[in-house]
Symmetry: C2
Subunit: 605 residues, 2 copies
């Protein structure tokens, strides 16, 4: 039943050889990998305006020069990342680059930041998407959490189905979004040029009292949240069709161009239309209703924006499991992240990401605005580390013509480092959690690796000398009465060994006497031992008895406990049975030297 349901949800299993067919073309890659970066324009401008509003409406014109600064930074980042793509065609981005060039701790720092960052991407994008919906339909405002969580659930399922299928689905909304924002910008500019736009625009270039450098830097760093997601392409090179590096570099450039023009367009429009940010309606929503009026086109823009934001979360769903796989392959994360699922995706990573981000949404009641700075710093730390790693790499290997790329990476490093520092200085109250969490994450990574290593040593065998050896076996069968199930268990046990005892836990003398009489009458050839329980607990006296047997027989015998398990005809019948079996099994699993054997009994009813 469950298996069928799973099939229905995530599709038929796929062969490993089908993996090649799952590779991405440039067009599809742009769709899958750029939705995170592109969707940032839905909140990037807003973040700048919100900081400037702290001084007043008159300061809003500063958003234009700040936007240009962000654009410049974008250009630097794109150039730097193109270097990384060509040098590290196997993907891995910041984690791999930092680990190889700066050493394991820095690699783990980059890896840890990125993992956290992907979780935040999903949470922030899903709740920003929900904002786009509730801006259009204010009545839904109370169901924010529910909407966001349902969308995350849908994305998780989509990704469990596999990469290409989701890519096909994802291609349309991304291009629709680019089209919609493009239309918005063109129509908006047209209205401005023709003078149709009637808005009380704050005058450009007025000096604003009270506007400090600190505030400008803060606004700039807020605007940098529009650059999150740029690294996605460089992490996913192995997913590209050949020639992978070239395709990836081209895709990255295209993405940069689209992102830059959309971001600048929205900033200019927001200024010209005199948009003032408020907590109830997003800037894009205000723009769209100014340009198009609250009609069909407005709702189309809003729904496409919501869609792209939900899909932005999808970028993280593509990147998180791959990064978790790489960390797990290096033994820094549990082994389960290395296993590919039925549909060739790393199912455990996908499920983990879905659960953690949904948890964040619930914890923050869907108000994840406060997470945006945390999210941005989570991106800029690995940005800085990977640029530093590249610098180190150029310096060490010095291939021909290394100076130009070295310079590009140096400029990139300095810029991203500066922004990281600005972030820490201007928004410490919002990002301090990172400085607690990242060291903790690195410590956990190292602990996990240490554990796996020492275990591998412990399990190693000397092929020449460590051979299997034989012992006797004592089998203990807990019985609750005389039924077909007991007969079944005793048949199995006596087939294996002569040393079989049945154990009955009784609560009062009357039922104990009845049991003894009936057992004698049945005479199954197995001794019955009676335990008296004063605590109504069946499990405790049983465990005590098994411990005693183990203590007496450990030298010569294996001790095995036989537990019957009802195989019910319908899955919900399990609620009616197997509770005690489950309890005993759980207790025994924690024991050192007891083997637990589960003998099935098939119920026909």
């Amino acid at each position: 039943m469950l298996v069928k349901f799973k099939r229905f949800l995530i599709g038929r299993p796929m062969k490993s050889t089908e993996l090649a067919a799952e590779k991405l073309t440039k067009r599809k890659a742009l769709a899958v990998l750029s939705s995170d970066a592109l969707s940032s324009v839905a909140y990037g401008t807003e973040q700048i305006l919100m900081v400037l509003m702290a001084v007043g409406v008159a300061a809003l014109w500063y958003s234009i020069p700040i936007s240009f600064a962000v654009l410049l930074l974008l250009a630097i980042l794109i150039l730097s990342y193109r270097q990384i793509i060509y040098r590290y065609p196997s993907g891995g981005g910041a984690y791999l680059v930092s680990k190889e060039n700066l050493g394991v701790p820095f690699g783990l720092l980059a890896g840890g930041s990125l993992l956290v960052d992907y979780i935040l991407t999903v949470a922030v994008s899903a709740s920003a998407g929900t904002d786009a919906i509730t801006s259009a339909f204010p009545a839904l405002h109370d169901d924010r959490v529910l909407i966001a969580v349902v969308m995350i659930g849908a994305l998780t399922l989509l990704n469990l189905r596999g990469v290409t299928e989701s890519a096909s689905i994802l291609a349309y909304p991304v291009y629709l979004f680019v089209g919609a924002i493009g239309l918005l910008i063109v129509c908006g500019l047209f209205q401005i040029v023709t003078g149709q736009a009637q808005a009380t625009t704050p005058e450009y270039g007025t000096s604003v009292p009270g506007l400090t450098l600190f505030l400008l830097l803060k606004a700039f760093s807020s605007g940098c949240s529009a650059l999150t997601g740029v690294e996605a392409v460089s992490n996913a090179i192995p997913s590209f069709k050949r020639p992978a590096e070239k395709n990836a570099a081209t895709t990255l450039l295209m993405m940069g161009l689209i992102l830059g023009s959309m971001f600048l367009g929205i900033s200019v429009l927001a200024y010209c239309f005199g948009i003032v940010p408020n907590g109830r309606e997003t800037v894009v929503s205000q723009l769209a209703s100014s340009v198009f009026g609250r009609g069909t086109v407005y709702y189309a823009v809003q729904s496409v924006t919501a869609l792209i934001l939900f899909l932005a979360a999808n970028t993280a769903f593509a990147a998180f499991p791959v990064l978790a796989f790489m960390l797990a392959k290096d033994r820094y994360l549990p082994n389960m992240f290395t296993v590919r699922g039925d549909r060739l995706g790393f199912s455990n990573g996908i499920i983990m990401l879905g659960c953690l981000s949904a948890l964040l949404i619930v914890l923050f009641h869907g108000h994840t605005e406060n997470l945006i700075p945390l999210y941005a710093i989570g991106v800029f730390i690995p940005f800085t580390l990977s640029q530093t790693g590249m610098m180190r790499m150029w310096l060490r290997s010095k291939p021909s013509g290394w100076l130009l790329p070295f310079l590009i990476n140096t400029i990139g490093m300095l810029t991203t480092l500066t922004i990281t520092l600005i972030f820490i200085c201007t928004k410490f109250s919002q990002v301090w959690l990172v400085f607690l969490f990242l060291p903790l994450a690195i410590w956990v990574f190292l602990q996990i690796q240490r554990h796996y290593q020492s275990m591998a040593g412990e399990l190693q065998i000397d092929l020449a000398h460590d051979k299997p050896y034989q012992k006797g076996t004592v089998i203990v069968i807990p019985v609750a009465g005389i039924t077909r199930v007991v007969r079944n268990s005793i048949s199995y046990a006596t087939s294996l060994t002569d040393q079989v005892v049945a154990v009955y836990v009784g609560f009062d003398e009357e039922e104990i006497a009845t049991m003894e009489r009936r057992w004698a009458e049945w005479n199954p050839g197995v001794r019955l031992i009676i335990l008296r329980s004063h605590y109504r607990s069946i499990v405790r006296p049983l465990i005590k008895f098994i411990d005693t047997v183990g203590w007496k027989a450990a030298e010569t015998d294996h001790v095995t406990v036989l537990i019957p398990q009802f195989i019910t005809k319908r899955w919900w019948h399990n609620i009616l049975h197997n509770q005690t079996s489950f309890l005993i099994r759980t207790y025994l699993f924690a024991r050192r030297d007891v083997t637990v054997t589960t003998v099935p009994y098939h119920l026909h009813q």
Copy 2:
């Protein structure tokens, strides 16, 4: 680790013989069993006023005659329930009385209503308690759900600790609450008599246009929500100290007197102080701030009210597990509800109640006002059924002097039936869910019973002829490499039988060749079978292989699969291991004829 934590939370296990010491004195019983009924005064009057407000402030004077009608009903109920207490000293209340006198379906109807009702009691009381807190501290309004859920969690733990200990804790707040409301009423009345109360009271006896009989009946039925919880005493007679019936009857009478005077007092005060109900502050909170001002005494009254409302939920925690036990003993609910926990309470029932009521709180965002009608009708259905059952019983047995109690029960039945009908007529839009849910619950009860009965038939054994029989055994050991764990498993298997095969699932030819070579070098005396997996799934080819073995050997042999289980040194190491073992075991448990043996391997690291 977990066991110790459990001990810390719920205390040391107790012997069955300690049960007698857990019996309740009258004073303690009043505390444990009456908090539900008494706390109803915190919202009873408010419910009446809210209905009357639909017409206008002028209609509020009707709350006084309506309150007297509710009081009359209370008197009738108390008298009727005293009859039940003396006739059914074993407790069980509505379920038992209805089942014995009206037949199984009516018994299940009463039982089902009560179970639902107890869940609603917890949800409604916890959120009403939260209202009392947020009336005093409006800043906490956004954390309603959290506060309510935390309180339910605390109550669940308290009840897992056991009956008497919770009773000792509970005795004080109940008496404090009675004291606080008494003080409020006395001071309020004093202020009215001395003319200190300055309020614009709606004039008593003015005729109000637009006030229909329908609305009056609706207000009356709303007021009846103050009577919920009255049945608790009659369900819990076995928990009383001897003479149980007499003590229970006295406790019931005391409770009725206290409840009646508090309810009437608050209604009169609310009228005299001209309190108008609103959604932000409770009526009791308004009264307390009018009488005492918003000072220390006000906050004391509010906190005691909050406390008593949380403890009202405790009545349900005492009653739900007992009722679930009775239904499970009659095989209408899963067996697990019959098992007493370490601390002599029915742990499963307590945990179930906690979870379901917390779920309701979360689903309704803590706004459970809408549940109050549902809750009230859930009480009045079993009220009516048990009175009818009593009537039938008197008619059938006709002991000497049966006429008076018969008359009392008849009047009780007619009144509660009328109120049930009023509820259905005036609040159908809020209570229709009951008419879907109750038939469904009865159907489920009957299905469960049918399943258990047919299973008992299936498992029955003929002691003379059905003896155990012997067969051979084939043991299959899945291996992932050559380690100490594998050596351990093979040692165990070869100790039992000669028919042992090891199975290795390989993904590529290279690793398969290495494995075959090393196996030959090790030569453990067991054949290695190689399975090639094209789907990266380890489980699927394994299951297929085991099915084939089972199909070939089923006639002559048991098929056993050996699964190694790492016993880790720290519990969280489990996250790092055992994932594949768990998966294989889960798949195999659903198979018909495969025995699963878990061989422990103790990790030292």
